[in-house]
C-alpha cells in the first residue's frame, strides 16, 4: 500500500480528556474507495475531524501524498488537496447554492475556480436549477449534493465523506453513489465513512472496522462482505 495517497499512522484523538480514537492506522489509495465502518460512537467521525484539522491529533501523523498535514488548520488541509465532508450535511444554510459553491472555490485561482465549478456541476447538474435558492430551503438530497459539490470544486486528491447515506432516502443514495465511483475512478482517493455497511462495501476496495476508538479490522471490503460475522462482532460485542 505504498501508493496510498492518504495515510494515517497511529493517530490518536482526544476529546474531553478521553481518547475517542486511538492508534488508528489506515491508508486510502488513489483511484479506490476505501471505507471505514463501525457502530455509532466508534470514533469514525473523530477520525474524519482529525484528518480535516477540526480535531487535534494528540499522537501519530496524517500524511497526504507524503506531505505531513497533521494538525494543520482546516483551510491548509484543504489546500493540501484533502476535502472533507463532515457528517450532518453542514452546508452554509444562510447562503444560496451559488454562494455555497463560490465560497468553496474561494482559495482557488480564477481559472481553477471556473473549472472546479464546471466539474462540480457536471457531477450534479440538478444544482443549476436551484442556483439562487438558499441552503436552508433545499431538500436533504440537494443539501448532500451541495456539500459534495463543495468538496469537489477544488478537485481534491483525497475526498473524505462522513456518512453519505445517513438520513437520506434510498433513491437519493442511489443517485449519489455513482458519483463517488466516478470520482474515485478519476484518480481520487475516496474515504467513505459509514455506519451502515451495505452500500459502502459494495463500493469499496479496502475496508476498516472501527470499534471503541480502535481499528478492529483492516482488510478488503470483499473479505468483509464474504464474512459478515467479522462485521457483526464489531457491532455487537462491546467491551
Amino acid at each position: 500500500m505504498s501508493d496510498a495517497l492518504l495515510v494515517l499512522a497511529d493517530v490518536t484523538v482526544q476529546r474531553g480528556g478521553r481518547a475517542v480514537a486511538e492508534g488508528i492506522n489506515l491508508s486510502a489509495p488513489a483511484g479506490e474507495v476505501t471505507t471505514i465502518l463501525g457502530p455509532n460512537g466508534a470514533g469514525k467521525s473523530s477520525t474524519a475531524a482529525a484528518i480535516a484539522g477540526l480535531a487535534r491529533v494528540s499522537a501519530g501523523s496524517v500524511k497526504v501524498a507524503g506531505t505531513d498535514i497533521t494538525n494543520r488548520r482546516p483551510e491548509r488541509v484543504r489546500a493540501a488537496g484533502v476535502s472533507v465532508v463532515p457528517e450532518g450535511r453542514r452546508l452554509l444554510t444562510d447562503l444560496s447554492v451559488e454562494d455555497n459553491l463560490k465560497v468553496a472555490s474561494f482559495s482557488l485561482g480564477k481559472v481553477a475556480a471556473a473549472e472546479g465549478l464546471a466539474y462540480a456541476l457536471s457531477l450534479f447538474p440538478e444544482l443549476e436549477k436551484r442556483w439562487k435558492v438558499g441552503g436552508r430551503l433545499l431538500s436533504g438530497g440537494e443539501q448532500q449534493m451541495v456539500v459534495l459539490a463543495q468538496a469537489l470544486v477544488s478537485k481534491p486528491k483525497v475526498l473524505v465523506v462522513d456518512e453519505l447515506s445517513l438520513g437520506l432516502a434510498p433513491v437519493v443514495v442511489k443517485r449519489l453513489v455513482p458519483v463517488l465511483t466516478e470520482v474515485a475512478s478519476s484518480g481520487v482517493a475516496v474515504l467513505l465513512i459509514e455506519q451502515f455497511a451495505h452500500i459502502a462495501l459494495s463500493l469499496a476496495t479496502g475496508a476498516y472496522v472501527l470499534e471503541s476508538g480502535r481499528v478492529r479490522y483492516s482488510g478488503t471490503a470483499k473479505e468483509l462482505s464474504d464474512n459478515p460475522e467479522l462485521l457483526h462482532s464489531a457491532y455487537l460485542l462491546r467491551d
Binding site: L54, R73, L92, K102, S107
Partner: protein, 238 residues
Amino acid sequence: MGILLYPGLVLNCALITLAYGWFLAPKLDRRDPLAKSLGMVAVALFLMGIMKDRWDTSKPRNLHFPSRTFTVADTVVSTTQILALAFALVVVVGVNLFLQRTSIGTAMRAIANNRETSALLGVPVRRIEAMAWFGAGILCGCVFLLLPSFVKSLDQGTLTWFVIPALGGAIVGRFRSLWITFFASIVIGVIESFLTPFSGALQFLSDFRRVTPVVISVLAILWISRRRTVVLAGREMS
C-alpha cells in the same frame, strides 16, 4: 498634520481594530459570541484606561470637520449633517454590495453563517476576519471624523458611549439587516432630537431622552421574540 490628519486618524483607528483582529480575536475564535464580546469589553477597558491618562478633560478639545451651513425651510442645515447622512447611506449600500457581490464579502457571510464549515471549505478564516476588523476600524474612524462636529465638548467617555445608541440600532436590525439598522438608528436619533426641546412639566422627556435607544431596542426584542420560546444559547448570531 494638515492634509494627512484625517486619513491618519482613520488609519490609526483601523490599525487598532486590525491589531485586535489579528492578535487577540483568534485566541477566542472558538468561543461563543458572548465570550468574544467580552474580549471586546477587555479591549475597551484597556483603551479607556489609556485615554483617561492621556486625555486631560480640563482642556476641552474639539475636532470640527470643515463645514458650511445653509437654510432649508426655516431649518439650519450644515454640510456636515448632509455628509453624515450621505455617508451612512453610502456605507449601507456599499457594504451590502460588498457582502453580496465580492468573493471576500461572500466569504465573510460564510464565516458569519458557520465558521468551521467555512474553514473546511478552504476559506482563510483568520485573514478574512482580520479584514473585517480592519474594515470596521475604517468605518469607525470615518464616523469619528464626522461625529465630533455634533458634540459640544469631546471627552473619552462621551465618545466611547456612542456605542450604546449604535447598539440600539444594531439590535433592532438583529445584527443582520443593515437597512433596518440604518432606519432604526435614524428613528432613534430623530426621537431623541424631538424630545430635546421639552421643558416645564414635560422637562423629564428632555432629561430622559438618552434612554430612547434602550426603550426602542427593548421593544424590538419583545417584538422579535414574541413567538419564540427557546433560544439556543449563543446560536442567535449564526
